[in-house]
Amino acid sequence: MGAQEQLRIDSRQEADRVVLSLDGELDMANAPLLQRAIEAPQLNDTKTVVLDLQGLTFLDSTGLRIILSAREQCWRRGQEFAVTPGSQQVQRLLSVTGVGEHLRTLASADEVLA
């Protein structure tokens, strides 16, 4: 089974934001897919990047590291960065590592940032 089949990333542009929806499992094997999605040129001019984690069923520390570096990259571009809550496993990892409380979290990808 290839890394692509375990993780699917859809990118959609909405007004002043780009939403990247993650479906499947994010681990060491497919973390580069997310890295590439974050570096895509169409993200350069948006005001906000939202990582929609609602379809993410598994996240590990490597995936977490990519999410945090994606956030740093967005900040360097002067963009807002937010996530939506993932599965129980994803939320537990974010809570165990303490990273969750430092991530701006929207109830859903449609929520407007204040």
């Binding site: 060491m28 520390s61 537990r92 590592t97």
Partner: protein
Amino acid sequence: MAASADALRRRLRPSADSGGVEVLPRPRADVWEIPFAGEDLFELRQLVSSWATKEAMGEEANEELVLAVHEVATNSVRHGGGVGMLRLWRTADTLVCEIQDAGYISDPLRARRAPGNEASASRGLWIADQICDLVEISSSPRGSQVRMHKRLAHA
């Protein structure tokens, strides 16, 4: 997907002597072992999950055990020579997963220290230590064993 998970399961075998690298005491239980490499991590998670389900572990504990094993196995792939051996057994009330590899954990107490929030922080061992009931680490320049204990039900 099912085919490759089955391929991994076919490599499961009764554990015999491991060549003298072990320092932690051998368990008095039937032990199953399976060698793995980086391309096996997805199937390794499925294997541990279905074993824990068969042993009637609850869903949350199951997910935590799977994550702990995955994190330590990822360390084997990244720092421990690229491959490792997973061993599985159960005691009266606990499932135990042990990973052995050729890596050297020069600072085993790292598992007990919370990493920072920076993107580059290493979190694998610390996560395993947080979500298991006990993590034993034995490491020398000849290799490492990380033994993760997860109780089946909390009384």
